[in-house]
Amino acid sequence: MPKRDDINSVLVIGSGPIVIGQACEFDYSGTQACRVLRAEGIRVILVNSNPATIMTDPDFADATYVEPITPEVIESIIAKERPDAILPTLGGQTALNAAIQLDELGILEKYNVELIGAKIEAIQKGEDRQLFKELVIEAGADVARSHIAHTVEDAIEYAKDLGYPLVVRPSFTMGGLGSGFAYTEEELIRITTDGLQSSPTTEVLLEESILGWKEYELELMRDGSDNTVVVCSIENVDPVGVHTGDSITVAPALTLTDREYQRMRDIGIDIIRSVGVDTGGCNVQFAIDPSNGRIIVIEMNPRVSRSSALASKATGFPIAKIAAKLAIGYRLDEIPNDITKVTPASFEPTLDYVVVKVPRFAFEKFPAADATLTTTMKSVGEAMAIGRNYTTALQKALRSLEKRGSSFHWGTETRSAEELLTVSATPTDGRIVTLQQALRAGATVEQAFEATGMDPWFIDQIALINDVADFVAGADELTESVLAQAKDHGFSDAQIAELRGLTEAEVRGIRHGFGLRPVFKTVDTCAGEFPALTPYHYSSYDFETEVAPSDRKKVVILGSGPNRIGQGVEFDYSCVHSSFALHDAGFETIMINCNPETVSTDYDTSDRLYFEPLTLEDVLEVIHAESQSGELVGVVVQLGGQTALGLAQGLKDAGVPILGTTPENIDLAEQRGEFARILDEGGLLAPRNGIAHNVEEAIEVAENIGYPVLVRPSFVLGGRGMEIVYSTDAVRDYFVRQEGQALIGPDHPLLVDRFLDDAIEIDVDALYDGNRLYIGGVMEHLEEAGIHSGDSCCTLPPVTLGRAQIDRVREATEAIAKGVGVRGLLNVQFAISAGILYVLEANPRASRTVPFVSKALGIPLAKAASLLMVGKTIDELVEEGMLPEVDGSRVPLDSPVAVKEAVLPFKRFRTKEGKVVDSLLGPEMRSTGEVMGIDRDFPRAFAKSQAAASSAIPLSGTVFVSVTDEDKRAIVLPALRLQELGYELLATEGTAEILVRNGIQARTVRKHSEGSVDGDPTIVDLINARKIDVVINTPSGSSARADGYEIRAATVAADKPLFTTIAELSAAVSSIEAIRNGFEVRSLQDYAIDRAERLAASAPASA
């Protein structure tokens, strides 16, 4: 069946903000889908609230709506655009849920729009646990024994049948949210209560425990003619009990015989048929009892998933792209395999290498959280590595995490084998290293299997790595043969250096002396059976290299590695844009990255892709390989976040040309003394500050400049280790807590700044070419200084800054750009306190807000920066039309306002006692993603941002207010307005007193610490009983915050809007009117037309 001719326009639903369990893999799949559909001549309409994505670039769709993904908004878009079809299978669970809602509300029928890729019935069969279970059994396969519960009482009853431990899984949630193991009735009650809450159908599945079984996934594709192929098998190294997103996984499955594998494949195909996934991708998860091979089907996703992104990168088979083609009618055998060009997509990729994925966690950001891994996903990102064998792939993946202690090591280990085995029995971040230490300390493979349930083969591979380490350490001399054997098992120069008591540079010198370097193999889907035309490479210490010579000018772009809090999809956006711009400018672009979720690691994005760890050694080897032909113009380091930036000096020292701002100048911005000089020369002020290398120095500096102070380790992103400190005791406490994390040291001093209370914070992204400054955008933060810019809500253009203030910001930015010697991007953070402009920090690199600015104002900052780095000037870029004539510091009054809001993951993290961790914002960033609301004025844009972040204020109900003394003045007006709008107000005694005196009727409610008396509930009881719809709770600076914590934790657990700053509350209150009137929608393309018209209108008549 060729392409359908009745589909001329398609609405693609994106996945919204990056959250745990749903990250930028859906940007990758959505971007692929948009590209494919447009190439097929179809008009693509896109809705996605996430401005950091590549898919929301106006170039990827005909109409791009950066709007909330709600049924109402989507209906408005449908009414306006009248698409023939909706494609909901590439935007994760968010898109699928939206499709279900559109169907239930009759919107699909009303506008006669067809769902393609999956039918409602199929979605329900896959997601409804009972239906799915029946269907699996009909297909002749097995499932874990289970019961469906709709109440806690049911659950307790069913547990008697299933026995403990048992698994609780809420229906229709993503990333395993709300699911977990219950070992006792108490735990069952807690998990079930939460699970019923997070399930849109108030339904949980209780299941027999299959803890410790082997876990597998199959990625399947089916076309409209019932042709089905298995794209990839994935095996979890961590057995059942750890969410697959949190497991170390390997592709292909390694420990199955063909009989077992084919049985799994048969079941997978039967399931995709009986669920009725008519076209597209689907993922089925299995558990296998290691003692007898019994196969159980765990679940299936009738859509492109996180694992599909991994499978696509692991095999070179672009699942999302093919899924989009199948959705518009093509058959698998009508679609060519991209990589070979001559063979069709109706085949099953075969691998002659091993792929390992490792999760990246962020528990350091949530010290109170229980770090035990469970069936609820907690990782915030992942790294993937490709090697010719498992040991290499595993070691490369671990070093790709860029996290201290993530790699195997052979240093001092004082714990005994028994202790280490006991520790590794609990799955946690870094368990595999503990296991390696246990084996080193004498544990046997059998003991390790008993402790962890990992397949003995995987454990033996770690033992093998230890054996190689012994061999390296014990060798008389570091000969070529010794090095070659270590390299064939993935040892880095740094690891070999540790084993031999040398430096990394010495090992590299010895190795290069032997001419021992990796070759680069190709990911080709077919294990070499056919020639591959796509240069998608990975390193291997093998014999033959496959890097094709080229005589072009080359630019290497360093990606940003695994997603983590503070360094996410925004940086990938910049890297991808750089690649596009430099390719268009005639360069051969070479991308190096190790994050399988991203668009940058799509082999279609750059001219050449190297899937490699972002360490100095790995990057240098790629550069060496690419230097064998053509001309290497340089390396782009300022777009890949701290990861890429951190490599700049090492590369330069090795003689590699760095494009843009030099590593020395990048350093200037971080060196306090030098930076102070630059500020002095520019006549600029910074808050009083100093630097400290240890606790004594820190106390001295802090006492000298006066508390409160803001402390911040240098060379970190996302405010890692950043805190506001109010006393000398607190400074000591800070150092105790940071110990062992290597954040502060001789080369990485602690920066100590006077903290500015009540200051307005401003973020600026700008370009500088050595001559001319071009402002991308001036963003005003809604919250006062002290909350990390990544977590704060901000508006572009600013809505309370005057012309003169903006001019001052512009001048200051120019002085810094000039002083530092920026060539490319610069981000500066300012604060205005008592009318004075302070410079907080400057970063000569792409910032997190680059994509937001680009979407809000239509200024392609990353593209422009890349061209500046290769020698263009801003004048030229303006002349060529890449940059608008007028920069982002002057936004006309009739332009739209864009608001960026952060999305936070507190709900995912529980303390050991099972409570949600505290949700207060601070100087350390903790958000995982962001959304944008854009509309004609601030209240409307703000309202959209809140709707998109799922934190919109309800239009009526009960509001609870409890604020600190400092906020009591400021609360009066918003509270009054809430009352006028018909909300009922409750408050704790102190706050109620103020409200009542100001003529606001607020009922007093008992504090949590007062306890409930005679059936008179406390505020926490009320929140738990879902009797409160909105909570306003501002924390006091330094005092004990127990009451506040209980309130906030209960609010987050109840999933109700929570305001912890008055600024955010005031904005929300002002936006209620806008929400009541409903949202108007407008595409980015239409905004661009508006801009062009405004420009034309304002141009002088003579022009």
Binding site: S225, D226, N227, V229, V230, P252, A253, L254, T255, L256, T257, D258, R259, Q262, R265, D266, P290, N292, G293, L332, D333, V342, T343, P344, S346, F347, E348, P349, T350, L351, D352, Y353, V354, R388, N389, Y390, V445, D455, P456, W457, D460, A463, L464, D467, V468, D470, F471, V482, Q485, K521, C526, A527, G528, E529, F530, P531, D542, F543, E544, E546
Partner: protein
């Protein structure tokens, strides 16, 4: 489960007839072996591959790097022994892990006298064969490893060429034996053992046939004397052009009106029996991910394949059998390179496929062919009644 000290392997070398050398470590038995070097891309099922008689005379290169993880067991053997003449892997497993495992692959290779090599760049070797074509090679370890490089190349070039080679006698049974039907009996079938796999016999018996396995040198009269309801030619090694005796047996069966089903070598021999030619592919199809289109249904099957020769026939239209068996069409073809993957006679009850519907190892997409053959046999019986 041996945990040999790291770095203690004995050296070995793989030498190709064009002089290319790959240095690695001895694996399996130490010594010398010669054969045609071919690669297979299956990621699972090494034991089925090794015990598949079709690989007789060949040095098999596994493109999947890790081999031996699940050990070996009796159930997964496709015949009584390992047939490959040499084995090339990148990373042999030093530990076995599977609940069905009964031993290690290393021990199994040594027991069956298979000389192998490990630790070489198997991808480079595969790419070399892909572009230069299948060629002869030799693995040398132990005393022969140190021989002069030119002497080794000469030894390889003194080996036999696969083209024109008959290997059926090497792999076939020498005595008849019978497996009873495992479901309701519908008749009997003679299976000419040219290197048949156990899975094939099992599937035929599952379709209600009493399976009579006969040696490769059976005469036409010998076949007809069995008075079976159908006959079948199996897969097997060697050049179909060197199997004229078996082609005569096939023609006799067809002339007698016996329903025929053939797999792999049995497909090539049907082609020759009908009067068409066969030819040698540059490097063959070996793997378990091969897409084949069933022209009748328009559906794609992911198939298990292992063939170095193919029937020379246009994939479109129907063709008159020069041997007078009526019209013939290509029923299946490879979506990768349009090679003939199945033949169907339109005027007599005979069909065959070039790939492996018994798929051990491999996907089960083509199992239906056994049932389809049962229908052909049943339909024929209905007519004659």
């Amino acid at each position: 489960m041996t945990n040999t000290a790291f770095g203690s392997a004995e050296p070995a070398v793989l030498v190709l007839e064009d002089g290319t050398r790959f240095e690695g470590a001895a694996y399996g038995k130490t010594g010398t072996t010669l054969g045609e070097v071919v690669f297979t891309t299956g990621m699972s099922g090494y034991q089925e591959t090794l015990t598949d008689p079709s690989y007789a005379g060949q040095i098999v290169v596994m493109t999947a790097p890790h081999i031996g993880i699940t050990g070996v067991n009796k159930t997964d053997m496709e015949s009584d022994r390992i047939w490959v003449s040499g084995y090339v892997v990148r990373d042999p497993s030093r530990r076995v892990s599977n609940f069905r495992s009964e031993g290690t692959l290393d021990d199994n290779l040594v027991e069956d006298d298979v000389v192998g090599i490990s630790g070489i760049d198997t991808r480079a070797l595969t790419r070399h064969i892909r572009s230069a074509g299948s060629m002869r090679g030799g693995i040398f370890s132990g005393a022969d490893y140190s021989s002069d490089a030119e002497a080794l190349v000469a030894a390889v070039n003194a080996g036999e060429q696969m083209a024109g080679l008959s290997l059926s006698a090497t792999v076939s049974t020498t005595e008849n034996y019978t497996l009873p039907a495992t479901t309701e009996r519908i008749g009997s079938i003679a299976v000419l053992d040219l290197g048949v796999k156990r899975a094939t016999l099992g599937y035929l018996a599952d379709q209600g046939f009493d399976v009579i396995v006969v040696p490769q040198n059976i005469t036409p009269d010998g076949l007809l004397a069995l008075k079976t309801d159908a006959f079948f030619f199996s897969n097997g090694p060697g050049d179909p052009a060197a199997a004229s005796g078996q082609v005569e047996v096939l023609r006799a069966g067809l002339r007698a009106g016996l329903p025929y089903f053939g797999i792999c070598f049995g497909n090539q021999l049907l082609g020759r029996a009908l009067g068409f030619d066969t030819y040698k592919l540059p490097f063959g199809h070996r793997g378990i991910n091969q897409p084949v289109l069933d022209k009748a249904t328009g559906k794609v099957e992911i198939t298990s394949q292992n063939h170095g020769f193919a029937v020379d026939l246009p994939i479109e239209g129907s063709h008159e059998s020069p041997e007078g068996f009526g019209k013939v069409e290509v029923s299946h073809y490879s979506l990768n390179d349009n090679v003939v993957e199945g033949l169907r006679c339109l005027d007599i009850p005979a069909f065959s496929v070039q790939y492996h519907p018994e798929s051990a190892a491999g996907p089960h997409d083509a199992h239906y062919l056994f049932a389809r053959f049962r229908e052909v046999v049943l339909a024929g019986k209905g007519e004659s009644k």
